[in-house]
């Protein structure tokens, strides 16, 4: 039981981590709490669903060339296509919103709460557009049955889950190299640290802001699709994921990618371990309790050095 909960915690934590990185970027670089980030995950998940519906992958016993399952997995080659489409659309929408809404507000006033507000309204619009187009019922990406793999413990995991976890690790490694080793990655870290000094040093702030949206939206779409692969897609998924995403980012210390990843793992582990002793219906409250505790006792995050402000 406990071993299964820990493994499940790691598997779902990886997906939360991909979303939480976008939240931590927006808190640190764009400097506002983006309430529509959860709905960017949902947007990615639904755009991918659209491709899968077109390819006929969600029909039982689908025999299309793109829908035949690959090896032990539940999906065919339509899924990578769907991921690519989901990423493109999510990036496009977030750049459009940056252009139409956030950039104008940023130019007009310095109050970051106005941006929070705008994201709050946009979240409602995005969520209900998905509801309007796809209806309120949840969708599964596939109706294929796959055999669980038995690990020692005894722990059962699906091949899909293992693949999602491994791909997440690879993506995180690539992100690390991007942030540490490339010019653009360093620009992002520098703007997070000090925007005024960065612009004096000749860093293109507007470009870095756009780049931040691109990276955040790409990761959000990937997280959304992975959520669809391992759970299911529903219009309110973004709303339900928002609290874990924020909590992971704050728990790990705002601006820290590794912190967001560790925070996400910690939250998912807590969710899965506590539901062994409390009713599952209270699971969505666990991130909030963790958030309150960390804000009371370690507001800079669990891994911040003591005494720093």
């Amino acid at each position: 039981m406990i071993a299964q909960a820990i493994v499940d915690g790691f598997l779902s934590g990886a997906i939360v981590a991909l979303g939480a990185i976008g939240v931590t970027f927006s808190l640190a670089i764009l400097r506002f709490a983006n309430f529509s980030h959860g709905d960017l995950l949902a947007l990615g998940a639904y755009s991918a669903l659209f491709v899968l519906l077109m390819a006929g992958s969600t029909v039982p016993g689908a025999a299309g060339p793109l829908s035949t399952p690959i090896g032990p997995f539940s999906f065919g080659w339509a899924l990578p296509l769907a991921i690519a489409f989901g990423m493109l659309l999510t990036v496009a929408v977030s750049l459009l919103l940056e252009r139409l809404v956030y950039r104008r507000l940023r130019r007009r006033s310095a109050d970051p709460l106005t941006l929070v507000f705008a994201s709050f309204g946009l979240a409602l619009v995005l969520r209900n557009i998905l509801l309007l187009l796809f209806g309120a019922d949840p969708y599964n990406y596939t109706s294929e049955i796959q055999m669980a793999v038995r690990l020692p413990g005894p722990v059962l995991v699906l091949p899909d889950q293992i693949l999602v976890f491994c791909v997440t690790l690879v993506v995180l490694a690539l992100l690390w190299v991007f942030l540490q080793r490339t010019r653009h990655g360093m620009a992002m870290r520098s703007v997070a640290e000090n925007p005024v000094l960065s612009s004096i040093a000749g860093i293109d702030i507007a470009g870095t802001v756009r780049l931040t949206w691109i990276v955040s939206a790409t990761l959000a779409a990937l997280a959304g699709v992975f959520y669809g692969v391992t759970v299911q897609v529903r219009p309110e998924m973004g709303l339900n994921l928002l609290l874990p995403l924020f909590t992971a980012a704050i728990l790990g210390g705002v601006g820290s990618v590794s912190g967001a990843v560790l925070g996400a793992l910690l939250i998912s582990l807590c969710e899965n371990l506590f539901t062994l002793v409390i009713p599952t219906t209270y699971k969505p409250m666990i991130p909030f309790v963790l958030l309150l505790l960390v804000l009371y006792f370690r507001p800079l995050g669990l891994f911040a050095p003591k005494g720093q402000r």
């Binding site: 309430f35 809404v101 709050f120 609290l243 909030f288 804000l295």
Partner: protein
């Protein structure tokens, strides 16, 4: 028709009190509350739990009179506001937004699941209503008068508060926090009192609503309510109490009439989608007002 008009004005006046509370938090003190519905629900459930007739299924069997129930629901909303306020008000301003969003989610879960306390998903039915012995028509009229008197009192109280030294400090805080701190004002405490007072008004609004319809259930307090009340404040003009009330009547009128149109135009199987259209409208109103008319209809024109 007249009874519908009374119903509409009563609900709009009740919602106005919540909008006034949000105006105190956002328009006056500049704090973002992303979980308005949570505080409204706390008030509604507070009144219901304290005044419900005793029954086997219920944990709390106090059967308090209406007025004491109202007072009790105010105390509970204040405590909930303190819980998130104390955790976040020393920190980044957007952390309060995140924490209030979290508390609304948690309250929704709790009222859905704490069956002995809240009646679970069925809610509490049969809250004793004041003026009920007058008959249906006179109950509505009596309740409307009571709500309007309370709204008047709240509005007058807020106007007096804004022109008191306390209100001046709040305005100064929005302009320059550092200067206020240097003048010896306890910045966190001023923020906290504004936040808690605002949350109490939201609780009052929820309690009056529960007392009016006589039931509370999780489906009465959906997340969309947070957005509705925000739209009311922003359209009316944040910072102005009269604007908040005007905005409430405008948005509530738009919401109910668009609901009527959707029900009569759409075939039954698309009704859920109709709700989505209404929500998109509210979202667009919020964002467009923010972009095009940030001071709303009656908001004070502050220099940027």
């Amino acid at each position: 028709m007249l009874s519908y008009l009374i119903f509409f004005v009563t609900v709009a006046a009740i919602l106005s009190i919540a909008t006034l509370g949000l105006n105190l938090q956002w328009g006056v003190s500049g704090q973002f509350n992303a979980g308005v519905v949570g505080f409204v629900a706390v008030g509604g459930y507070g009144l219901a739990i304290l005044t419900m007739p005793a029954s086997e299924q219920l944990l709390v069997r106090l059967e308090l009179p209406f007025a004491l129930g109202l007072a009790g629901s105010l105390v509970v909303s204040a405590l909930v506001a303190l819980l998130v306020g104390l955790a976040t008000l020393r920190l980044r301003s957007d952390y309060l937004a995140i924490a209030t969003f979290g508390i609304a989610t948690s309250i929704h879960l709790l009222v859905n699941n704490l069956e002995p306390l809240t009646g679970g998903s069925r809610g509490l039915v049969g809250i004793p209503r004041p003026f009920d012995s007058f008959g249906q028509q006179d109950f509505a009229a009596g309740y409307l008068v009571m709500v309007l008197v309370l709204l008047g009192l709240v509005c007058a109280g807020l106007q007096a508060l804004l022109h008191s030294p306390w209100g001046r400090v709040q305005r100064a805080l929005r302009e320059d926090e550092t200067v206020c701190a240097a003048l010896g004002k306890n910045v966190v405490r001023f923020r906290l009192t504004a936040f808690v007072l605002g949350a109490m008004l939201m609780g009052l609004s929820g309690a009056l609503y529960a007392g009016f319809v006589g039931t509370t259930s999780p489906s009465e307090f959906l997340p969309i309510m947070t957005f509705q009340i925000w739209a009311m404040l922003i359209v009316g003009g944040s910072g102005s109490n009269y604007g908040a009330i005007a905005g409430t009547f405008v948005i509530w009128g738009l919401w109910t009439s668009s609901g009527v149109v959707i029900v009569s135009v759409l075939p039954p199987q698309y009704q859920a989608q109709g709700g989505a259209v209404q929500a998109i409208l509210i979202g667009l109103i919020l964002v467009l007002t923010l972009l095009l008319r940030p001071h709303g209809l009656l908001g004070p024109r502050r220099a940027a």
